[in-house]
Structure formats: C-alpha cells, structure tokens
C-alpha cells in the first residue's frame, strides 16, 4: 500500500477533514483554560458532538434519510421539531396505531403489533436511527446498515484524534 493510497474521496477522509476543521475552529474560538468550569466543558462537549454529527451527515455523499434528519435535527429548534414529528409519526402509523394525546401536547403513540410481535423493537430502532420514524421496515433496515457503517467510521476517526491529542 503506497503512501498516497489514502483515498481522498472516501467517507473516512471526508469526515476527517470536516471534523478536524470544525475542531480547530472550536478550539480557536475558546481555547481550553486549565480552570474551565464543568459547565464550559459541557458546552464544548455539546459543540464538539454536534460538529461530529454534522460533519458526518455532510460527508455522506448519497443523501440518506438519516443524514438529512440529523442535519434537520441540529438546525431547527425543538418546539418546531415536535410538531413536525407528530405529523410524521401519525401519518406512518395511521393504519396500525392509535395515537392518544396526553397532557400538554405530548403525544403518546401506541403501536399495536402487527407483524409478529416486533413492534417494540421496531419502535426502539426507529428512535435510535435519526429519521427513522417515517419509514417502513425494509427501508429502515437499509438506513440502519448505512448508519452503522458511518457510525463506526466516526468512532474510529474520533478515537484516533483523541489519542493524538492526548499524547502530550
């Protein structure tokens, strides 16, 4: 494997570039002081995590549902998000669920299991995979596979960077 074999257009390298750029920007904006309060550290953590997710979603070349959902999630404020997701969920589950609204606009969706008792797990999977609420099983599995692959890339790269930085 020769030196220049690092595929510059692979998912990994695209993600690495973007993420490193975001990281340096975050670090430049607020350099880490040795006496940061936990709150500041928490804020940094949130920013870094959002940067990681965003750069991952952008690095996906084929526009996937989960990547669009991630970006959307990070951009729209939460109150607007709740309304939209209510609409999305009810349109999908119309045929097999009853939606009951309980106090203060929070929507509780009950799924009556239709296909062999997989309902609970499907619901969990939908929650885990961003944008998974409005997809049928077949596409959901597809998205899950792609999402898992991208997550593993993300973890690899972040781990490498963290080790690099912590070498001192």
């Amino acid at each position: 494997m020769d030196l220049h074999n690092l595929n510059p257009s692979s998912l990994k390298s695209r993600f690495t570039t973007r993420f490193l750029r975001a990281l340096t920007e975050i670090n430049a904006r607020k350099p880490i002081a040795s006496s940061s309060s936990p709150r500041e550290i928490f804020q940094r953590y949130r920013r870094i995590k959002d940067a990681a997710d965003t750069s991952m979603a952008y690095s996906v070349r084929s526009r996937r549902t989960w990547s669009k959902a991630t970006l959307w999630r990070l951009r729209t404020p939460s109150h607007r998000r709740r309304l939209a997701s209510f609409g999305r969920r009810s349109s999908l589950n119309k045929t097999r669920t009853t939606t009951t609204a309980s106090h203060r606009g929070a929507v509780v969706v009950q799924i009556t299991s239709r296909g062999g008792g997989l309902g609970v797990q499907l619901e969990e999977l939908r929650e885990l995979v961003p944008g998974g609420e409005a997809m049928d099983l077949c596409n959901l599995l597809d998205e899950t596979a792609h999402y898992i692959k991208c997550l593993t890339t993300q973890v690899q790269v972040m781990r490498t960077i963290a080790n690099l930085y912590s070498l001192e």
């Binding site: 030196l3 690495t16 550290i41 084929s62 599995l141 690099l164």
Partner: protein, 419 residues
Amino acid sequence: MNRALPEILQCSDMTVLERQRARLKWQQEQFQQHQQESYFSELSGVFSSQTGHVQGFRQGDLMSCGGAAGGGDSVLSDVVMTRQLKPDPGLETAWPELGKVDMGAMGFGPCGYGNGQSFDMNQAISRTSSCPPAVAAAEVKGNLEKMGLAVERDSLKKRKVEKLQNSKVVAEDDSKRIKASEEEESKITGPNTRKSSNNKKETYGDTSKENSKVSDVQKPDYIHVRARRGQATDSHSLAERVRREKISERMKYLQDLVPGCNKITGKAGMLDEIINYVQSLQRQVEFLSMKLATVNPRLNFDIDNLYAKDVFPYCTTNFPTVGNMAQELANHPPYVQFNPFQQVVSGCGVEMGINSTEMALQRTISAPVSIPDTSFLNTSCFTGMQQIQPSAAWDAELQNLYNVAFTGSIEGSDLKMEM
C-alpha cells in the same frame, strides 16, 4: 489471459454458459495471483483502512479455506474463492459503500475470531449457499449470469456468492436483463430465494408470470417473478413474498455488520443486537467527544493543509511531516513514535499558518497552479525543520515510519498502545 477475459465476454457469439465458465476460470487465476500477493499481509487486520480490510479478509478466508476446505470440497472452495473476489473494486451497485463495508465486516469474522475458528467462516460460507453442495455448484455457475441482471439491490446471498465481476463486465451485462438462468434455477431447487434478485421493482399486475420467457431485448422496469412450485400465485402473496425476502436479505446484511451476531437467529434477537450495537456506538461517540472537549490540543498546525492532494506528490521528499501527519490521522497512527513530530510541527506551525489561507484556496485548483505555493511552503517550513532537528538519521526514521504505517503491520492493536 487475465485481460483477455473482458474481450472474450464482449464478443456476443459466446453462449451464456460459456461466458460463465470463462469468467469462473478467470476468477480462479486472479485468485491465485492475489493469493501470493496477500499471503503475508494478513496482520493488516480488521481495524485498518478499507483496503486493509480487504487484505485481512482475503487472508482470513484463505486460512479458513485451507483449513477446512482442504478436504477437497471443491464447491465450497469455489464459493470461497468467488467470495474473495468480491472486493474487486468498481462494482456499481446501489450500495457501493456498503459493498466496501461488507469487506470490513467480513474482516471482523476471521480476524476477530482468530484463524483457528475456520468453522465459523465456513458456516458463514455455507449460509450463503444454503443448498447442498451438489446443487450449489450448478447454482454458482447458474447465477453468475444473474449478477449482471439485478445489480442494484441484489439479494444478499447472491451478492456474497457472485460478485465476481469487475466493473466492465457488470456495466455491460447490466443493460440486459436476461432471464435464462432463471428457468434453469427454478428447475433445480424449490426453496431457492435467489429469485428475489430479480425483484427490483414490480408492477403488481404483471409480475406473476408462470411462463416468463427468456428475452435478450432490454426490458423496461418489469420484474418477472416466477412462482415457485406449490405456492400461491396471486399477486398479493407474491408481492408479500418478495417483501419478506427483501427484509430477510437486509437482516442478513446487518448480521454481518454487527459483530457477534452469527449465532443469533430470528428477527427479534437480531433486532435486539442491532439496537444494542447502535446504542453503544452512539455512546462511544458521546464519550469521545467528551474526551476531546477536555483534552488540550498542543498541535497548532493548520488542518486545512492536510488533505491538499496537490501537496502530497510534490512534498513527500522535501517535507514528509505534513503528509505523514495527514496520513496518520486517518489511519490509526503508530503513535509510539509520534512524539518527535509534534515539536517539529509546532515549530512549523507559524510558517504554515501563514501559508494556510493560500493553501486552502489553492487546494481545489488543479495541480500545476499549486506548485509555486508548495515550493514556498517547502522552503519556509523546511527551514523551520532544520532549526529544530537537522539530522539525516531522523529523516530516515521518518521514512521508516512511513513504511511502517503503511504496510499496516502495526495497526492490529487498535488504540491503547502503551508506551
């Protein structure tokens, strides 16, 4: 002879079966070539880059194949060999990245379990050809043609067994949806799920054809599904069956992605595993970002330079540190030897900072334009280097580092290399 195959395949007066045979022979030759090349790079391991996955997978496959299939089960070894060639690049499927991931995931198998457990691999292999070996032989050959058909969303079994072709052949066959082998197949086995390979899109009214004919002409988006013997033939149940097959194919694919799922059968258990795995990955991302938030980075080099493709070809001999840094960041670095770098790079940080904006702008411009910048970068940073450590021996060590990093022999040990 190796290159002769695509030409042979392109001449249309060969029959389908002859083509398949020729293809298979070619693949075998390719396999033997690769066998010698990749024999000693087994340890490139699971966690390296994707081509490293390919090597690891091939090696693991080879070992297990040699171990268990040495008894002369030629069919299985056929299957194994054809599987090995799956990583041949350029397969234009709708899951192009997933194809590569498959490599990575397969790499988990042999390298995770060690080479002693060839049984696992063979189970995985036999899973792909779930028919008895005598039938599998005919099916492997019979399905070689099918590869050209439904390239976009193949059934998983078929993809594992049959993705032999390189891109030229696939692109060529993709234009024809020949159903010759479909008839052949349906006579061979009953519960054969390879039919799902044809079911990319369906028109519900037209799909249940008992007498689908072989057609050489390009068909529009119809997928002809043949009803199997003794099963209901109305369109609803056919569509239902197709849907179920798609789902099971995806579940199998996920089973390969998620490590440690080989023993679990049944959708519920699989879904549980998948959920756990996704949750653990998400937690890892959170943990790592927390770690990054607390660690103070001392390297102040400009990141934008790292992936300047144009920089690399001109810079390697003069300025190995930047290139090396970039490469190492993306392929788990052997960071035991990384320390001498950091001082150098931080020393160069100033010069590079000056050049960074220019480089970032120039990065997307074609190579010749960026030459003056790179030379500027070279000289200025090179002087920086020389101030700090002007030793030829150290450069030699850097070159060693390059070689080491990129033969991938260190990468097996994932992360916590203790110094």
